[in-house]
Amino acid sequence: MTNDRPGTPGQMTANRRTFLKTGSAALGTAFVMPHIARAADKVLYINTWGGPWEAAARANLFDPFTKETGIEIRTVSPVSFAKLAAQVKTGTYEFDITTLGGGELVRANDVKLIEPWTTEPYKGAVFQNGVASHAFATIIGYRKDKYPNGGPKDWKDFWDVAKFPGPRSLQRYPVRVLPLALLADGVPLDKLYPLDVDRAFKSLDKIKQHVRVWWTAGNQSAQILRDGEVNMIGIWHSQFFTAQDAGAPVGMTWNQGETDVAYWVVAKGSPNAAAARKFIEFAVSAKPLAGFVTQASYGPMNPAANEFIPAAKASRMPTSKENRSQIFDQDIVKLGADPADISRRFEEWLAA
C-alpha cells in the first residue's frame, strides 16, 4: 500500500533531529538488519518502486549508465522512506540512492539522512539536497458517459454535487487533498499556503457523503474510473491515461492539476557517495531523463529533456509548455502544519 504514496510534505521536530544525531550509536546495536555482501566500488545499489517504474529506469537510466561508466547497478524494492532512516541509524547500507517526494525530502534533509549537494546538475535542480528528477500531477478525471454535456473544469466543479451529481473518489492522502479542498472553497492559488486546515476540513465535509472511495493505490484509482464505480476522480495523470488507453469513455482537465516532484537523493554516509552523485547527474541529464519519463509517464524537471520528447507524448505530461501554465506545485516548505498531525486528523475525520 505504501508503494503508491510517493511524496509526503513535511516538517521535523527538534527532538527528532537531536535523537537521530545522538541515538544512532545507541540504537544501532539493537537493530538487526541483513547485511548485504557487496563489491567495493563497481556496484551501486538503488532503491526503486519495482514493476514498470524499474523497467523504465533500467532501460533508460541504469543500463546506459553502466555502459558509460562500467559501474553495475543493482536494485532494492520497494521504495521505503523508513529504511532510509534505519540505514543511517545502523550504518548498514542496503541502498546508496533512492527517490523521495517533496515532503519526505524536507524531512530527510532536516534530520540529515541524505548527503549534501554542492553542485547543480542543471540550473535549479537542487532543492533541500535532493535533485529534482520528474513530476506527476493529480488531475480531475471524469466519465464522459455520465456527463455528456461536459465534465468538471476545476475543483469547484468537482465539489458541486448539484451540477455534477454522482459518486466521486479522491486519494486517501490529506496533504495532497487539503489544498484541493481549499481551491474548491474559493481560496485563490497564491493564498493557498500556509494551509488553512480548519477551512479545508469544513470544505471536505461538504462532499464527504459523495466520496465513495478514498483510493490508496494507483492501480485501484485507474480501475474504479474504468469500471465506472465513480463518476469523477482526483487521479494521477499517468493512471488517468492508463484508463483512457484501455478504452474507457473518460475525459480530464489539466486545469488546477497539482504536481508532486520526485527527487534523487544519496543516503547519508553511503560508501559509494561519489559514484552515486555521478549516477544522479547522469539520470537527470536531458536524454536519459527524456527516455525515462516518456516510458514511465512522468514529466521531466530538467527543461532540456523536453527537446527529446515527441509532441504527442509531451501533451500527456504536466511539465509540457501548454500544461505547465494550468497546474500548480505543492509548496512543502510553507505547508504550515505538521503533515503527521494533518494525517491523523484526516483519518479521524474519515472514521467519524
Binding site: 500500500m1 505504501t2 537493530f31 523508513a82 490508496t216 480501475q223 469500471d227 464505480e229 503527521a340
Partner: protein, 282 residues
C-alpha cells in the same frame, strides 16, 4: 534392567532440547531482538517518554481504530465459523476422495496472489460486475452497492481466512468416534438435541482453535478492508504503517504495535487457560 529404566526416567533427557538450539538462536536473533528494539523505541523515541503510549491510549482516533480492528476480526471469525462448520461437517461425512476435492477447492485461495484476489473481488462486486448485472436482470431496479462496503471487505477476508477454520474443525470432526453418535441415538437423542448435547461439545476444540487462529490473523489485516471496504474501515496495522513509513514516527508506531501485541497475548492467555495452547494446531 529395572535400575536402568528408573535411572533414565530420573534424569531428564537433554538431547531433544539441544536439537532445538538452532531454532532458538534463530528466533532470538531474528524475532526477539527486533521485538526488544520495538519495545525500546516505544519508550525512547523521540526521547525518553511515556508520551507515545499516552497519545495512543487517549487519542480518539486510535481508540476508534482499535475498536474497529477487533470488531472486524470478531465479525470475520463469526462468519468463518458459520460458513466453515457445515462445510467441515460435509467433508467429514464425505468419501476421502470428495473430502480431498473440497479441501483443494477451499485452499485454492492460498495459491492466488493477494492482489489478484483483491482486484478480482473489485470486478465481481462492482456496479458493472456480474452480480449486480444478475440482480438487474432478474428485476431489481436499484440493486444495492456491494463494493466499498463492509459486506465486500468481510467477504474477501472470510475468503482468505476460512481455510484455517475449516481445517481445524475438520481435523476434530474426523476423529470423532461414530460409536458415540450411535450410542447417543440409541439413548434417544435426535436432531437438534443430538447436535447440541453430543456433537457440538465434541467439536468445540476445533471451533475454539479455528476461531483463535482466524481472529488473531485477522487483527493484522489492513490492505483488504481499505481497498474493498467503506472509508470508515481502517485497521490498526494500517495506521502503524503510516506512522512509520510516512512520518518516521517510530516511537508512536512502536507503541501501537506493542499495545496490539499485548491485547493479542491477553486473548491467547485466556484461550490457553480455557483450552490449552498446545492444541492450537490440532
Amino acid at each position: 534392567m529395572q535400575a536402568t529404566i528408573s535411572r533414565l526416567t530420573e534424569r531428564p533427557n537433554l538431547w531433544p532440547w539441544l536439537l532445538l538450539t538452532p531454532l532458538a538462536v534463530y528466533l532470538a536473533v531474528f524475532f526477539l531482538v527486533p521485538l526488544i528494539d520495538v519495545v525500546v523505541m516505544s519508550f525512547t523515541e523521540p526521547r525518553l517518554t511515556l508520551g507515545n503510549y499516552a497519545h495512543v491510549v487517549t487519542g480518539t482516533l486510535y481508540q476508534r481504530v482499535f475498536i474497529n480492528t477487533f470488531a472486524t476480526a470478531a465479525l470475520v471469525t463469526i462468519v468463518c465459523l458459520l460458513v466453515g462448520y457445515p462445510l467441515a461437517y460435509l467433508m467429514s461425512r464425505a468419501s476421502p476422495r470428495t473430502a480431498m476435492l473440497i479441501l483443494a477447492l477451499v485452499t485454492m485461495s492460498f495459491w492466488t496472489s493477494f492482489l489478484v484476489r483483491t482486484y478480482a473481488w473489485m470486478v465481481l462486486l462492482g456496479d458493472s460486475g456480474p452480480i449486480i448485472g444478475f440482480l438487474k436482470a432478474v428485476g431489481f431496479e436499484h440493486p444495492p452497492h456491494l463494493l466499498f462496503t463492509r459486506f465486500a471487505s468481510t467477504l474477501a477476508m472470510v475468503h482468505i481466512l476460512a481455510p484455517y477454520m475449516i481445517m481445524n474443525i475438520y481435523s476434530v470432526m474426523r476423529k470423532i468416534d461414530p460409536v458415540l453418535i450411535r450410542s447417543a441415538q440409541s439413548l434417544g437423542a435426535r436432531g437438534a438435541s443430538l447436535f447440541r448435547h453430543v456433537y457440538l461439545p465434541l467439536t468445540a476444540p476445533g471451533i475454539a482453535n479455528g476461531s483463535v487462529l482466524v481472529f488473531v490473523i485477522c487483527l493484522g489485516f489492513y490492505v483488504t478492508p481499505v481497498l474493498l471496504g467503506s472509508p470508515r474501515e481502517q485497521m490498526i496495522a494500517g495506521l502503524i504503517g503510516t506512522e512509520i513509513e510516512e512520518f518516521l514516527a517510530f516511537g508512536r508506531g512502536s507503541a501501537m504495535a506493542i499495545i496490539l501485541l499485548l491485547i493479542t497475548l491477553v486473548i491467547l492467555t485466556i484461550y490457553h487457560r480455557r483450552f490449552g495452547l498446545d492444541k492450537l494446531w490440532g
